[in-house]
């Protein structure tokens, strides 16, 4: 066990960067003279001072970070940062409990997008900007950002990176230097952000709405500044822009990076994960549209396709926007959408769930077992894009999938035990754990998570963190073996 104080020193630096991001809504609030100025001022000062104090106390501990420390740091950042993020919210909305505020900020940073706040339209612009800004920060990962802009993390960069970014194959380095990779990913992210904002403005949104919804879209979060979410705009053009950028954000950003860097669209085709992602996603869109049309939910196919496309892409990519109360659709459709959100997005994207890559690997492993039963002497490897995967990774993926299912089942039982009905409990857990947002029943797209009890809210908060950090990062830190000297 190395020096935990060294970990806290880096945590202080990350927190310092985070405090600086609070300046943006503060300036916006000040310029717009809205009611949240003091809330952001206090929030910034409190966070900045805490970070500075922590750094002063630990500044002498400049030990090199080890692999384990990476897990500790990432867990610390993801548990601690939302707590500081609650300060402006709680100051502005004094009636809000810490439980709810913490849920809200975790929901933002983990790009879940489930909210406990009603009356979003009445909130000042700066508060909504802060909520959606959290989604944008959490999407690519704050630590990735810090690795990119603070070279002083140096050696520990890669461990941190792999503990934070999602997907089974974490050793793929795009560039020899980790900081360079992190910078590249953030640049792609920012480039998409610019395009997405322009797209929304072109489709008819105001600049403020465009920026906030861009944050939410690219982070695959789902926060909106309107209670009615996208139904507020009721514009097919806006929905089309959203669909395009949600689809792009659900792809591996490393592939975007390579395609832009080498100016070759073939990278999208070569990546088997993206082929499956796009195929499954859009096949589902068509299937659900046909189903809605066939069951008579919508009178014509075009309307069915419009609603099916937006809501299916939104839920499957774990975003969580809605332009209609799809919970009213025949039960099969929302269930299928909820099922999709648990695996459709690509590794290395801003989405949640087990990721398409793992789903492919699990599927191939199942096929391998089938072949092994038919041909007992057969030798087969699980391959991805012609490259064989070592058994080590296959086992890790199987263990992950098992842990994933076990957590969903046990958290659902916990929710039901605390008094929820099965549909609400199960869908709340799935929607939180996959960082999707809206569930079904009491936590459906037309309602919020406000009706949950404090205990249930904490369960959802834990599920969101577990889901965003892909279970093992948190499990490792919670395991006794980690702390044994």
């Amino acid at each position: 066990m190395s020096n935990p104080l060294a970990v806290i020193r880096v945590f202080a630096l990350v927190l310092l960067v985070f405090a600086l991001t609070m300046l943006v809504p503060m300036i916006v609030a000040w310029a717009g003279r809205d009611a949240a100025v003091t809330a952001f001022q206090s929030g910034f000062v409190a966070t900045f001072l805490s970070a500075a104090l922590l750094w002063l106390l630990t500044r002498r501990h400049v030990d090199e970070l080890r692999v384990r420390d990476g897990y500790l740091l990432v867990s610390l950042v993801w548990v601690g940062m939302p707590a500081f993020a609650t300060i402006p919210l709680m100051l502005y909305l004094p009636q809000m409990s810490f439980t709810d505020a913490y849920f809200e900020t975790v929901s933002g940073l983990t790009t879940t997008g489930a909210t406990v706040i009603e009356g979003l339209d009445t909130l000042p612009f700066s508060i909504n900007l802060w909520r959606t800004g959290l989604v944008f920060l959490g999407g690519m990962g704050l630590i990735v950002l810090v690795v990119a802009i603070l070279p002083l993390l140096g050696v520990g960069g890669r461990q941190l990176f792999s503990a934070e970014s999602p997907g089974p194959l974490k050793d793929t380095k795009l560039t020899p230097r980790m900081a360079q990779t992190a910078k590249g990913l953030w640049l792609v992210y920012l480039a998409l952000a610019v395009l997405c904002t322009l797209g929304y403005v072109w489709a008819g949104m105001g600049w403020g709405d465009a920026v906030m919804h861009m944050f939410s879209t690219l982070g695959l979060g789902g926060f909106s500044s309107h209670d009615a979410s996208y139904a507020h705009f009721n514009s097919p053009a806006v929905e089309a822009v959203a669909i395009v950028f949600m689809t792009l954000a659900g792809m591996n950003f490393a592939t975007h990076y390579m395609a832009i860097r080498r100016r070759d669209l073939a990278f999208y085709w070569i990546d088997p994960e993206i082929r499956w992602y796009v195929g499954v996603l859009y096949a589902s869109v068509l299937g659900i549209a046909a189903y809605l049309w066939w069951t008579g939910t919508y009178p014509d196919f075009a309307t069915a396709l419009r609603f099916a496309a937006f809501n299916t892409v939104s839920i499957a990519t774990t975003t969580g926007f809605a332009n209609t109360d799809y919970a009213q659709w025949p039960f099969l459709a929302p269930m299928w959408m909820l099922f999709l959100c648990s695996f459709v997005t690509c590794a290395g994207s801003t989405g949640g769930g087990i990721k398409m890559m793992r789903a492919i690997i699990v599927f191939r492993q199942v096929m391998r077992e089938v072949v092994r039963i038919v041909h007992p002497s057969a030798v087969r490897t699980v391959k991805l894009a012609e490259a064989p995967l070592p058994n080590k990774i296959v086992f890790a993926v199987l263990a992950f999938s098992f842990a994933y299912m076990a957590i969903i089942v046990s958290l659902t039982l916990l929710m039901v035990f605390s008094g929820l009905d099965v549909v609400t409990g199960f869908s709340a857990v799935v929607a939180s754990f996959n960082n999707t947002g809206p569930g079904l029943g009491e936590v459906g797209p037309s309602t919020t998570f406000k009706s949950l009890s404090d205990f249930q809210t904490w369960v959802c908060t834990a599920a969101m963190l577990l889901g965003r950090l892909e279970i093992f990062t948190l499990l490792v830190v919670l395991s006794p073996a980690f702390w044994r000297k």
Partner: protein, 475 residues
Amino acid sequence: MKIIILGAGQVGASVAESLVSEANDITVVDTDAMRLALLQDRLDLRTVAGNASSPSVLRQAGAEDADMLIAVTQSDQTNLCACKTAHALFNLPTRIARVRSLDFADHAELFEPENFAVDFSICPEQIVTDYIVKLIEFPEALQVLEFADGQVSLVAVRAFEGGPLVGHPLKDMRRHLPQIDARIAAIFRRDTPIIPEGDTVIEVGDEVFCLAATKNIRKVMRELRRMDKPVKRVMIAGGGNIGHRVVRALERDYQVKVIDRNKRHAEWLAENVRHALVLQGDATDEKLLGDENVDQMDLFLALTNDDENNIMAALLAKRMGARRVAALINRRAYAELLQGSQIDIAISPAQTSIGTLLAHVRRGDVAAVHSLRRGAAEALELVVHGDAQSSQVIGRRIEELPVIKGATIGAIVRALPPKEKPVFTEDLAEERQCKVIMAHHDTVIQAEDHVIVFVVSKSLVPKVEKLFQVGFAFL
């Protein structure tokens, strides 16, 4: 000719054997002195022990006045390095290297004089693979050989009861196939060559060598035996160098199962094939073969590097119901022993691949050489140069040429584009204009014709070469 052969492995030894018998001065270089001693006991040649790519060893082997270097050691790197050394230090005129790795072979510019200085690169494994793939395309044939860039094919077929031409004289073929010009180049009856004449009657069991334009080959074969069902399922024993290449070539179009004994190698194989099913086990284990439905296989190929295993596996597979079996057999004694036994096709890697090498060693412009019947007979593709004055053949009818008993001119390909210029798509139309002419007694040979000559005994090759050589007056 003075030839240095680097590497005394399977390929090196059979090249040496083949070339010694054609009155060349051979020096073989290898690191293994034992192996060299064995070779020297058997053949009349000189040996040098040492690292094949080192200048001193090459000098010792006589690189200074050698005419040709054939680098066929196990290692691509050694072969390439030796060619460069021979070029740079000794200015050795012709350098041939065996290059197995596709990584090298795919970059032709590496072989240019300023780089590795390789005149011709050969890959015996690839040649054997192509040969096996051809056999699967024509499952009835014992051997399929191509000439003149694939314009003309020579197939060896065993005559079976039920073929329309079997039991009839050859001249009936013209009646059976009025549209098609084909020629029976030779018949081997109980291992004795028969020079085919119009009245020769084909008997059941004859090995018939038949020459025709590639597109007509199937129709000609149909005359000699009933056609088999096309091959769908293939089982391969041994996933080594040749086995792996064959799997890669076949797995897209056929259902392929490949058995390898070595666990680690089987794993490597599984990582390096796309669709084929890799099985780990012993190809001579009847339980494994039974479990994997060997009786449903259209073709069983035994391609390990162990002759005995190949023979046993092939015999076992045949016994268990595989439709056709083929075995890779390196030792000539075994191959002769098994001809006409339960094993349908015995493939001799050395004899299959040696033709490509021989084409470079021969005098005159020889475009292709194919060894037939394990090296006893030969089919040559000669390019005729010169004019009516300098050449003995140009402008003459075939019946006017001096008769060499045992050699037949089978076909002539006219206006074939020269090989040195790569054929691009726009040139394809031009390429198609080349004409395949079956040789008749009154056919006149022109300059730049590719003449395909079938020789029943190898001892006749020099005479044929001399006939087609350009006279001194021309030089």
